[in-house]
């Protein structure tokens, strides 16, 4: 269920939780997200000991292992600053699933407090920073794929497109079945590779059919999946994390 969230005033400092996929595969996207936040006059604290939110194990049913890993993240954010996550699925994990995961344990209250401070990056830029973007790039037709976790778990179908709308020379194209899953689903892509492949094939076709020259997404799982498919098919469409796209066009 989409819950209405009351947004705080823009803080002086935030924590940044980079996510394991960004750390290992798309570090530039993480850095670009930090730059976007810093440009808003916010000091970004990056706890060095962060690793993974635990979601891959969680969705696979390994909740004891998840809890151990999640517990290691809980202590990284001692001050009451917002925690910015450049991913709807990791953000959704921490906001929605941390509290029940620790229910009945000594960490319950801490998990709840951390969960309340979780913001997905585009959500934070739009609703807390009220960011104004000045586009410096060339004209381009772009498709946005909002991840299912951002869209449904966090209720953030509009924040990514709202940011792209601010880019003067960018035309946001409308894809068929934009709200449909790209087929990543974490370990789903590995456990049911053929079904997942059919889904990503349809997603890439929809993006191409919409006339997009480029696509962006707010989740690196979807990015890896969709871009990997385009590349495998030797199609010209390329994709990147929305943080990189925004930073590249406005810096």
């Amino acid at each position: 269920m989409t819950s209405l969230k009351l947004y705080p005033a823009k803080p002086d400092k935030v924590y940044f939780f980079g996510t394991c996929l960004i750390d290992m595969f798309y570090p530039e996207a993480g850095l670009d997200a930090i730059r976007l936040l810093e440009r808003e006059g916010i000091e970004v604290l990056f706890p060095d000991d962060q690793t993974c939110c635990g979601q891959p194990a969680y969705t696979s049913g390994y909740h004891d292992e998840t809890r151990a890993v999640a517990e290691a993240q809980l202590d990284l954010f001692p001050e009451p600053w917002p925690i910015i996550v450049p991913s709807g699925s990791c953000g959704g994990m921490m906001r929605t699933h941390y509290p029940p995961l620790f229910a009945g344990t000594s960490r319950e209250e801490q998990a709840r407090q951390v969960a309340e401070r979780i913001f997905e990056l585009t959500e934070f830029l739009v609703h807390v920073c009220h960011v104004r973007l000045a586009d410096k790039g060339d004209a381009q037709r772009v498709a946005m794929h909002t991840s299912c976790s951002a869209r449904r778990e966090m209720g953030l179908a509009d924040t990514g497109p709202a940011l792209l709308d601010q880019l003067e020379s960018v035309t946001l194209v409308e894809q068929a079945r934009a709200a449909e899953c790209c087929g990543f689903g974490g370990t789903f892509a590995v456990r049911h590779p053929e079904v997942s492949a059919a889904m990503v094939e349809d997603k890439t076709q929809a993006i191409e059919a919409a006339g997009a020259e480029h696509f962006v997404t707010s989740d690196c799982g979807c990015l890896m999946n969709i871009a990997g498919r385009f590349e495998h098919q030797k199609r010209p469409v390329r994709g990147e994390h929305i943080a990189s796209y925004l930073w590249r066009r406005t810096s």
């Binding site: 269920m1 290992m24 595969f25 530039e28 990056f46 974490g186 370990t187 590779p193 590349e231 495998h232």
Partner: protein, 478 residues
């Protein structure tokens, strides 16, 4: 036509076959696209979220009071002249119905649509006893002619297109080969009317059983439900014990949700409320009405606060209509009575996790099912819960719990856990992975059959941030 049986154990093979079948792909894609649009457009001026809240509260209240409401339903049905029977499982329910038929020397049973009867394989059971069981819902009739099972809980023959149906009816009933749907429908009407007249017993399902009044509600468009419950001298209604609702005024909200969620209709053609057999002064209607209340695993689901939500379901099928997996593999691939997301959270309780272990994982957890569920069943959370049970980290109260636990995978997750709780080692490993990125395999099993392999970045974010801080600091100092 060859008869194919589908099993949940063969999910992967069946999915492979369905994905490679352009006809199946097209039939389902087209149908599901249409159903999604119709649902979206059907709520009109309604505050759909408030209606879903109401629907959920009605179902939760019914479950909270379930044993009391069942007793109340029984008492009120009996007072109305409806005979009530209880069955602990499908076999017992089949036996009960067979005995009711045999005691009346009934040889011909006509059936209205009932998923519970599919669940307990009633037709096969009756036929073994020499009793003909004929489906009368057009979709069910076609599926039965084709010696198949339904591929969707609302539209049983959705996997067949008009040409296939024309061929089927031609082969089995001698109709002309044609794409004229009116002709095919009229032919089925003619064929089935004769069977209604000659039927000894009508068996139907129940959409809502109202405890307060002892009323059985049936939702339908065709009129076969009314025929089944009106024409034969005996009507046997069969339903799961969870279908009870407390009040008559609980029905309109659920009915409004059901029709819109299922087919995007603002109402169905018929809403049939049965509160008893024919009275002495009446001139038609069955002389006897029976209600068979079937447990078949439901009281086990009922024990667990989280799993309980499975029983809220009103069987609208919206979760499958909106499921990107169901849309691509179709209903038969699941190999179970109930396919799609609701099947994946219900069938493990009816058949055990050993047989159904691939179903809870057959979802990308995209949440589309939960988003449209008219009674707000948290389907993705329940899928995760069953995955947890399957790998042996749940409460162990689902049959076959732990069946998917294997040493290799446990070791992998334990290794991941160790690394992710030792930040130094984690950072070292991501850096190392980056250094050797050229050596990462370009073949990563199934992933790279369809996509290129992701390569670790040469410098992980940890290191980039460190450098970035240094630059910031230098800029701050200068």
């Amino acid at each position: 036509m060859s008869v194919q049986t589908y099993t949940p154990q063969a999910f992967h093979r069946q999915a492979h076959d369905a994905l490679g079948n352009p006809q199946i792909r097209a039939n389902f894609r087209q149908a599901m696209d249409g159903l999604m649009t119709k649902r979206r457009d059907s709520f009109g001026d309604w505050d759909v979220e408030a209606l879903r809240d109401l629907g959920a509260s009605i179902r939760l209240r019914a479950l909270a009071k379930l044993p009391d409401l069942l007793e109340q339903l029984e008492a009120n049905c009996q007072a109305n002249g409806i005979q009530v029977h209880w069955a602990q499982d499908g076999d017992e329910a089949c036996r009960l119905i067979r005995e009711l038929c045999e005691a009346r020397d009934a040889k011909r049973v006509i059936k209205g649509k009932s998923m519970v009867s599919e669940e307990m394989h009633l037709n096969a059971h009756l036929e073994e006893a020499g009793i003909e069981a004929l489906e009368s819902d057009l979709g069910e009739y076609l599926v039965q002619l084709n010696e198949q099972t339904p591929s969707h809980i609302i539209m049983p023959a959705i996997h067949l297109n008009t040409d296939e149906i024309s061929d089927l009816m031609h082969a089995k009933t001698g109709t002309d080969k044609t794409r004229d749907v009116d002709y095919l429908t009229a032919a089925a009407r003619q064929q089935l009317r004769e069977r209604f007249m000659n039927a000894d017993v009508g068996v139907s399902g129940v959409n809502f059983a109202v405890a307060e009044t002892g009323t059985l509600c049936l939702v339908e468009n065709e009129g076969n439900g009314r025929m089944t419950t009106t024409v034969p001298p005996v009507h046997i209604a069969v339903t799961g014990i969870e279908k009870v609702v407390e009040h008559l005024h609980d029905v309109p909200p659920l009915y409004a949700l059901l029709t819109r969620s299922a087919t995007g209709q603002h109402v169905t053609t018929y809403f049939n409320m049965i509160s008893g057999p024919r009275k002495p002064e009446e001139h038609d209607g069955p002389r006897e009405v029976h209600l068979v209340l079937v447990d078949n695993g439901r009281s086990s689901i009922y024990q667990d606060d989280e799993l309980l939500d499975t029983l809220r379901c009103i069987r609208c099928g919206a979760c499958m209509n909106h499921c990107p997996v169901y849309t691509r593999v179709g209903g038969h691939t699941y190999g179970t009575t109930y396919p799609g997301p609701i099947g994946s959270i219900l069938m493990p309780h009816l058949q055990g996790l050993e047989a159904t272990q691939d179903l809870p994982s057959a979802s990308s957890l995209c949440g589309a099912c939960g988003e449209v569920c008219p009674v707000r069943i948290p389907i993705p959370d329940l899928l995760v819960r069953l995955r947890k049970e399957a790998v042996g980290e749940g409460r162990g109260n689902v049959e076959g719990a732990g069946v998917k636990r294997n040493r290799k995978e446990v070791l992998a997750w334990k290794g991941w856990q160790w690394l992710a709780t030792h930040p130094g080692a984690w950072r070292a490993s991501t850096s190392v992975a980056g250094k050797f990125r050229a050596l990462t395999p370009s073949k990563l099993g199934p992933w790279t059959q369809y996509r290129t392999a992701p390569k670790p970045a040469s410098t992980p974010l940890h290191v980039l941030v460190k450098r970035h801080r240094q630059v910031n600091r230098q800029e701050g100092e200068s």
